[in-house]
Amino acid sequence: MAMLKPIPGISSASATDMAVLKPVTVATPGSASDINFSRFVSDLPWWTLPALAAIFMMWPIAAYAQSTFTMADATSALIRWLPFLVFQGFVFNILISVTTMALGTIAGVVLGLMQVSPNRMIAQPAWLITQTFRNSPWLVLLFIVMLAFPFKIEIGSLTIQIPDWIKAVIGLSLPIMANISEVVRGAIASVPSGQWEAAESLAYSRQQTLWRIILPQCFKRMIPPWMNWYAILTMATPLVSLLGVEEIVTLSQQAMAAENSRPELLVPFYGFCLVIFFAYCYPIARWTIALERKYTVKL
């Protein structure tokens, strides 16, 4: 109780941790601050996507006007590689993002619940872990997991190979875990203290209060920030290309190498990556904002 923590989604800082003096009215959770990414993306007009695509495709003509490589050449190269990039590359990014999110959410919920534990021996370490991983560079975490983790585990005579992408998933799920932990803690903190007191005075145990009264109320409030983190995570999956995992950026580089590494291809190919990420995240962002609005009105 010594530390006054700001509550995500609530604009005013908590002035006290004393239960009786907490304000009864609480600002709507999950507001502007913690879903900035989704807000920005969803505010972009629908024609952003074709506009981006057009710019990237026409780039070679503008940038390399003297070159013999035409827009048609760039387009046909891209179209040739497109199924490979999408079905072997981008699908793998999605797989990584979904697996990471699943792992990060499970660990993050556990950590978030530990953070609100009345037992300091549980709450303090959980807080420290959350803050550490929330405030560390993702790439550094990835490298640490990649290099510190064994590439195979031997159990007796059984040897289990751990593929790089699994290690990448573990590495990425650390910051996700920490951020989901904060989402959970913030959502729980946003339930008015009167709910705790009412349940307490009806002789509910702490566990019953948490699972039957508090969590059902904040479940909905956690969905928008959770989806926001999913979109951010998906955007971050190309990081694993630095570790040699064969996702879309790695494959784009391979494809360009196969096309004689023509500089004119750089912008169309990387531009295509950007476009496909945008195409995937845009509806998620729109949906996040729609849900956020819906749950805000209800409160």
């Binding site: 004393m18 008015p192 709910q195 009412a198 005075s201 009806l202 002789a203 145990s205 019953q208």
Partner: protein, 251 residues
């Protein structure tokens, strides 16, 4: 469990020289009062005088620094106290109703007996429906708190508390957040309850109601009980100048 066996001729709630501070701020500076079974007492006084804090101490929502609070002879502040057992005996209704918004009125009433007391569902439902009827909310069983008016929500909160069959009911400024028109319906409910012999401890600003319903009135100011007495003497011949000043401002 209790140190001395409690019998109904002893005070059901006994508060002796209770001190309570929030940090450097001393809110209760030696408060004592006794409540007998079936009695209705009202605690009145200016804001910040410690009335709410005092009744929150009775069901251990707040802890105390020194003194003693006993409910049915059981020390509330004892280190090894089973707070849950205490709270089964002491019901509490809050200023802000604090109904569970994700549950219907009937579910709000039924939840604690089911989860906490582990009573059979059909029996609990029967009792809950009777309680909803008792607080005059028939037909609102399946409404969510958000669909009810403040007065209706507060009556559900009273029914929810009664569903645990408490021996003592605490009311913490239960009409303070209500519209004037709905105050009455809540007060009538409390009056019915008092008439049935429920031990009630109320913190209230409704002087007329306190006078009508209370067996005994306590006036607190700056953390101490300044004066107390039966309503008639209290309202008509208050001795302490602070009480008089307060009453002259209110009445």
């Amino acid at each position: 469990m209790s140190e001395t066996e409690w019998t109904p001729d002893q005070p059901i709630v006994s508060i002796k020289d209770v001190h309570k501070s929030f940090g450097d701020l001393e809110v209760l500076k030696g408060v004592s009062l006794d409540v007998m079974k079936g009695e209705v007492i009202c605690i009145i006084g200016p804001s910040g005088s410690g009335k709410s804090t005092l009744i929150r101490c009775i069901n251990a929502l707040n802890d105390i620094q020194s003194g003693s609070i006993q409910v049915e002879g059981q020390e509330v502040n004892a280190p090894g106290l089973d707070k849950l057992e205490l709270r089964k005996k002491v019901g509490m209704v809050f200023q802000q109703y604090n109904l569970f918004p994700h549950k219907t009125a009937l579910e709000n009433v039924m939840m604690a007996p089911l989860l906490v007391l582990k009573q059979p569902e059909d029996e609990v439902e029967k009792r809950a429906r009777a309680l909803v009827k008792k607080v005059r909310l028939e037909g609102k069983e399946n409404n969510y708190p958000g669909e009810l008016s403040g007065g209706q929500q507060q009556r559900v909160a009273i029914a929810r508390s009664l569903a645990m069959n408490p021996d003592v009911m605490l009311f913490d400024e239960v009409t303070a957040a209500l519209d004037p028109e709905t105050v009455k319906e809540v007060l009538v409910t409390i009056k019915d309850l008092a008439a049935e012999g429920m031990t009630c401890i109320l913190v209230t600003h409704e002087m007329g109601f306190a006078r009508e319903i209370a067996d005994h009135i306590y006036f607190t100011d700056r953390g101490v009980i300044v004066e107390h007495g039966p309503p008639k003497t209290f309202f008509e011949s208050a001795k302490d100048p602070r009480t008089r000043e307060f009453l002259s401002q209110i009445l």
